[in-house]
């Protein structure tokens, strides 16, 4: 199969995956942010779902899928559907989070309905076109951005796609490098899928920014449907498929063997390097994304350019980095760290756009109005505003850590001999199928990935209490 055909197949699958995920996540957009009315940027249920989904590596998902239903997973007629279901399961929480975090449309759905009920000769009718455009633009911006993020995540998948024997540009590139195609040719070949991913993300991001920057009336958001369970069902199913089942298998097989997981000195060292790479790359990617977003005139261009290397995929990125890396740096972890940071940047930029967009809800407006004439109250108002903003950089860091922690290709190609991450060992051990040691080490990796989110979620409650008390 040619690269173009493999890219088309991957793009079709990613588009279908993301469309299904956004459709299923749309009814959840309020339910997933319970605290939206008081703290719009706090991600709530969707963030927990994303953190859990992101914390379970695709290797663990495939490991569980083939362990629990080997015949089903291996039958050619159903493996493509299983792959699609798993990809939707991994994408749905991300779509729900993006939808929950983005501001509501300038005109709410109920507002649009009330407007439609107005008598034909009412004076407000003269603004009909303008209001309808505001509603549609806001909704389309929100959906388009969630779709783009889901598309990029599904489009870049390698582990699950390869495991289920389906075609994708990532698999094609892997085959090409294994077959000895040189780096220059590989980079040329990777331009097509990278451009596609970047275009989708860029167009959606630009659209969302444009809509977000437009003047808008104060929004009236629909209260969360507390009495209905049905909106939660897709999320529950997704979590069961991609989090609960794999974790249950890992806990069953690995929990009592955690001491085996770190018995070898080499494995302990590799785990510490994995944590080091993940923390450093996640922090750098978050910081770069937030720094670039500060530029007023060319922020969008800077962010788009920062996404280019990562959009080419981890394999291409690793090969190019190895090609251009000076010999003096090759014995250090810096090339791997640089590649991991670039690989994380598209998601970091997406998170920056999603988490720190301008907000116009009433608590934030109140905080603005509280800005007083004296310095003491100005500091209090700034602290309240910061709390309302929800520490987007910290959440971005927490979500990037498990993603970086799961990387295999960059670590395998770029990490120096003394600083290899644990994932390389895990993939090697998984060669012989299920074992208690693999389960225990995967479990350890999952727990490590969840820790930052758990710590931040816990710490986020403290300042809120302090302000209330003050």
């Amino acid at each position: 199969m040619s690269l173009a055909a493999a890219t088309c197949e991957a793009a079709g699958r990613a588009a279908l995956t993301s469309a299904v995920a956004v459709s299923l996540a749309w009814p959840l957009r309020h339910a997933c942010s319970r605290r939206r009315r008081t703290s719009p940027a706090r991600p709530g249920l969707a963030a927990i779902a994303v953190a859990l989904t992101a914390a379970v590596p695709p290797l663990a998902v495939a490991y569980a899928a083939t362990a629990l239903a080997p015949r089903l997973a291996l039958a050619p007629s159903v493996s493509s559907w299983i792959l699609l279901a798993l990809l939707v399961g991994r994408t749905l929480p991300i779509a729900a989070l993006v939808l929950a975090l983005l501001p509501p449309p300038p005109l709410s759905g109920s507002g649009a309905h009330v407007f439609a009920l107005l008598p034909a000769r009412a004076p407000l009718r003269r603004h009909r076109t303008r209001l309808r455009a505001l509603f549609l633009a806001g909704a389309s911006g929100t959906c388009a951005f969630a779709f783009a993020v889901g598309f990029v995540v599904a489009f870049a998948d390698f582990e699950l796609t390869a495991r289920f024997g389906q075609a994708s540009w990532t698999v094609w590139l892997f085959d090409a490098q294994a077959g000895g195609v040189d780096v220059g040719a590989l980079v040329q070949q990777a331009v097509l899928p990278a451009a596609l991913a970047l275009s989708v993300l860029g167009l959606a991001g630009a659209h969302a920014l444009r809509v977000g920057a437009a003047p808008r009336p104060r929004a009236a958001s629909r209260p969360p449907p507390r009495s209905h369970i049905s909106p939660y069902l897709p999320l529950v199913a997704a979590l069961a498929l991609t989090v609960v089942l794999p974790l249950a298998l890992l806990v069953r097989d690995g929990a009592s063997h955690l001491d085996d997981a770190v018995r070898s000195r080499a494995a302990r060292g590799e785990l510490s390097w994995s944590i080091g790479y993940a923390a450093a790359a996640a922090a750098l990617a978050t910081w770069v994304a937030h720094t670039l977003a500060h530029g007023r005139k060319w922020a969008w261009l800077a962010m788009a350019l920062a996404c280019v290397p990562g959009s080419a995929g981890s394999l291409t990125l690793a090969l190019v980095t190895r090609h251009i890396c000076p010999d003096a740096a090759a014995d250090t972890p810096l090339p791997a760290l640089a590649a991991l940071t670039f690989a994380a940047l598209p998601i970091a930029v997406a998170l920056r756009l999603a988490l720190a967009r301008p907000r116009h809800d009433s608590p934030t407006q109140t905080a603005r109005l509280l800005a007083p004439l004296d310095a003491r109250r100005r500091r209090v108002a700034a602290a309240i505003a910061s709390d309302l903003a929800g520490h987007p950089a910290l959440w971005s860091f927490a979500m990037l850590v498990p993603l970086v922690l799961q990387d295999v290709v960059i670590g395998a190609i770029l990490a120096p001999p003394h600083a290899a991450p644990l994932t390389v060992r895990l993939h090697n051990l998984a060669h012989y199928g299920h074992s208690h040691t693999v389960s225990a080490q995967l479990l350890l990796l999952v727990v490590t990935g969840v820790l930052p989110a758990a710590v931040i979620a816990g710490a986020a409650r403290i300042p809120a209490g302090k302000h209330t008390a003050g």
């Binding site: 039958a75 080091g276 720094t291 109005l369 800005a371 012989y432």
Partner: protein, 355 residues
């Protein structure tokens, strides 16, 4: 007039505290400190190892414990196979980092030898291994081999290689190979398998045959372990894999050595010292350790059931390995595939990536 406190971005929230220049300097200092701290320890022997960690690590740990030589081992992933490390040695040829390369098949070291990236060593281990399994100039040596095998479900009677060949031919003629599994031949031991077919039956035969397999729906999966999984799960009736994968299937499958024109296909591990190795004495000690009878017996007794190529007492080996060793005596000489592997790889690349 009210002062504006914009919660839109953290920049405003943290107004007065954000200092980009200071942050950049702090990050640069932290990275430089990390890089300095984490630079490789110069005394350690660097080993690139494409063998499975679970089998290789105890052997390397035993060497380190016995000699006191510190090792830094880079393992390959299941995804990148031997080629990942071979390509890494090629990429690093200007400033080699690896001292010793332990591959799980011979085509990788053949390529590196052709590129002049290996250096010879004739030690005790080299002398112990028969000529058929080593390069005459001592640039690489084979040891502890695997056989290519047919793997079939255990709930059906075991069949001979001839019966399985007939079954495959019949399925091919019927146009239905959906229940035959083979790994993608671009890499791994399946590449060795198709290279052997090329060497024995010619390129025209192989081109037509492999194209027929694809057209008639044979299942090309991403590794020998996946072939084993398919057969063990009952999703395929037969497949080609290696003896270590077949052994991992346990009682769920039968393994029958593949035979091509009277030859079995025996694929040794290989070890070589990289040209420009920085720890030559330690590298030689490790090569001798790997080529020792202790190492070969250890790999034979392990779950991979690898076949000793040097002299060992049959009584010291498990019974299944004794049978495999008998089959390995009819193996295709490695010399037969040496001239073909580059052309096969070029053709496979064209066949697999461009169509």
């Amino acid at each position: 007039m009210l002062h504006r406190v914009d919660a839109a971005t953290p920049r405003h929230a943290a107004s007065g505290r954000f200092r980009p220049a200071v942050a950049w300097v702090a990050v640069a200092v932290a990275l430089a400190a990390w890089a300095a701290f984490a630079t490789r320890r110069p005394q350690a022997l660097v080993v690139y190892c494409a063998h499975d960690i679970g089998l290789a690590e105890p052997i390397l740990d035993a060497f380190a414990a016995r000699t006191g030589i510190e090792l830094q081992v880079v393992y390959d992933t299941e995804a990148t196979k031997t080629l990942g490390l071979v390509e890494r040695v090629v990429a690093e040829q200007g400033a080699p980092r690896a001292d010793v390369l332990w591959c799980n098949e011979p085509l990788g070291v053949m390529r590196l030898h052709e590129l002049g990236l290996l250096q010879p060593y004739r030690g005790a281990g080299f002398a112990r291994i028969p000529d058929a399994w080593k390069e005459a100039g001592a640039h690489w040596v084979g040891f502890a081999a695997r056989l290519r095998v047919w793997i079939t479900p255990a709930d059906r009677p075991a069949r001979t290689a001839a019966e399985l060949d007939s079954w495959l031919t019949a399925q091919l003629e019927a146009g239905d190979l959906a229940r035959f599994a083979i790994a993608v031949p671009l890499y791994g031991t399946t590449r060795f398998h198709v290279t052997a077919l090329w060497a024995l039956r010619g390129d025209a035969w192989l081109r037509a045959w492999l194209r027929d397999l694809r057209l008639r729906g044979a299942r090309f999966v991403r590794g020998n372990a996946a072939v084993k999984d398919l057969v063990a799960a009952g999703a395929a009736d037969a497949g080609w894999t290696d003896t270590d994968d077949a052994a991992a299937a346990g009682t769920a499958a039968h393994a029958t050595p593949v035979e091509v024109d009277g030859f079995t296909l025996c694929i040794p591990n290989t070890v070589a010292i990289v040209r420009g190795a920085r720890h030559e004495a330690a590298a030689r000690a490790l090569v001798d350790h790997l080529l020792s009878s202790e190492t070969e017996l250890s790999l034979a007794r392990g779950r991979g059931q690898q076949i000793p190529l040097g002299q060992v007492d049959d009584a010291d080996m498990p019974e299944p390995v004794q049978r495999l060793r008998a089959a390995a005596k009819r193996a295709l000489p490695l010399e037969r595939v040496r001239g073909a592997h580059a052309r096969v790889l070029a053709w496979l690349r064209e066949e697999w990536l461009d169509r």
